[in-house]
Symmetry: C2
Subunit: 241 residues, 2 copies
DNA sequence: CAGTTATTTCCACTACGATCGAAGTATGCC
DNA sequence: GGCATACTTCGATCGTAGTGGAAATAACTG
């Protein structure tokens, strides 16, 4: 076994300060160094050293804007590897009402790298499939890929997405992403990201200022129901939850 | 974020000696402590300390047989998390002919936790689907699951698998597993494990003594071709490779 | 230009953890 | 019982990596 990088990558993630920063970036945003230092509760010098290592290790990408240096996860594989580790790690005990509320919000709707996850994300993917707009591909060479039907293509184009442009992107067009809390799949890939971006643009979703959770606005609640038949407040049996 | 275990789990994997032992167990086998120490090139005392931490951290399960203590990965989630990290880690440079041969063998056929991966595994999954024996489920609530068709159930029962018993197992019955070298899916879950076990039982596959690679025997080559239409020596365009 | 802010580099200090020798416990074998 | 084997616990050593203070660099601001 010559996977020299394997242990190195894991130990890179294994430092508490670095792990905290990586988790802050799980939603695919880019944050400046100072902000990451503040959130991880370490000094800027220390954060700088850590961020340098994370970039060198291929986990983060760096984008410089003036005197600010924005760091983001280098790609979806990084987010997926982190998710894999999250599944293994027992969620810490809830220590306050504040935390319990936050966890509930995360479970309801959050961003996963750059697409929508949580109950809302899962329901949306379900409804797209249920309406015959999205299908799993059957060709064995396309395993793990999703595809839009002609009807779905039309519907999402009408919703404001530039489907041909998305197909030209180098990313996988549409693929399932396992949700570690709901244990169901939601929509990832270029399509998932674009759809999520459109929901923010319409004001249907709003970012929570300090967590990965996203807020479903009133407009979003009615909009998602009318456009996609999504009712995230009831569980699969129709009961309120 | 209260994922206290997150960084801890990653740093558990991040130690080179522990990483080496974990990689040795990626195929789902159980190995005794001394053997793991030997393979990781560390003293038995050191290995003992590491193994204790891995068990405490929930990554390994321990089974005692007489004076031997066998360690194995605690479950498929662990294998999946490790795969996620493997994808991020660049394969080390090939330093010898020996290594190049081993890498070729790994790419051709290997075990991934307890099911078959590599080109042979991918081709087998493809052929099962192509023959209409295995399908992706369309119901949104069953995302990420595969299912046997009635024809497939009959065929695999005739091949010696006890399908009803597999359905009763607590594991997921059949699911896709992404192959990090082929970038395609192969068959995992209870069905994938049972099918793989049957291939070993028939002598179609043989374990390589010192690596995760498995050897496709002559009997296996003809058997897989006759029973499932698998021809792993040609690439998807039919060329020899 | 000076002054402020974002970030990095340099540099000790410190602490934690990997390592192995030595000794201890448990199992199996004759 | 006696002896070898498999593994663990204890204890001491040693290196390495995280940490923040001080100072340098670089960009924006007026």
């Amino acid at each position: 076994m010559t996977h020299t990088g394997f242990a190195q990558t894991a130990s890179l993630i294994g430092d508490p300060s670095r792990a905290a920063m990586l988790l802050q970036l799980m939603d695919g945003r880019a944050l400046p160094a100072g902000e990451l230092a503040r959130r991880a509760r370490i000094s800027p010098q220390t954060a700088s050293a850590h961020l340098g290592k994370l970039v060198a290790g291929g986990l983060l990408a760096l984008e410089t804007h003036g005197r600010h240096r924005y760091y983001r996860l280098r790609g979806p594989e990084v987010a997926q590897a982190l998710e894999g580790l999250l599944i293994l790690s027992p969620p810490g005990p809830v220590r306050s009402l504040r935390e319990s509320e936050e966890r509930k919000a995360l479970r309801f709707a959050r961003t996963c790298y750059d697409h929508l996850a949580g109950r809302v994300g899962v329901r949306l993917a379900e409804q797209l499939t249920h309406r015959g707009w999205l299908t799993r591909l059957d060709a064995p060479s396309a395993a793990g890929k999703w595809e839009l039907t002609p009807a779905g293509e039309e519907a999402l184009a009408a919703f404001g997405l530039d489907i041909p442009a998305l197909r030209r992107s180098r990313r996988s067009f549409a693929r399932p992403c396992l949700d570690w809390m709901e244990r169901r799949h939601h929509l990832a890939g270029a399509l998932g990201a674009a759809l999520t971006a459109r929901l923010f643009e319409l004001g249907w979703l709003r970012r929570h200022p300090s967590s990965r959770a996203v807020i479903l606005t009133e407009a979003g609640r009615t909009g998602l129901h009318d456009a996609f038949g999504v009712s995230p407040d009831t569980d699969e049996n129709g009961r309120e939850s």
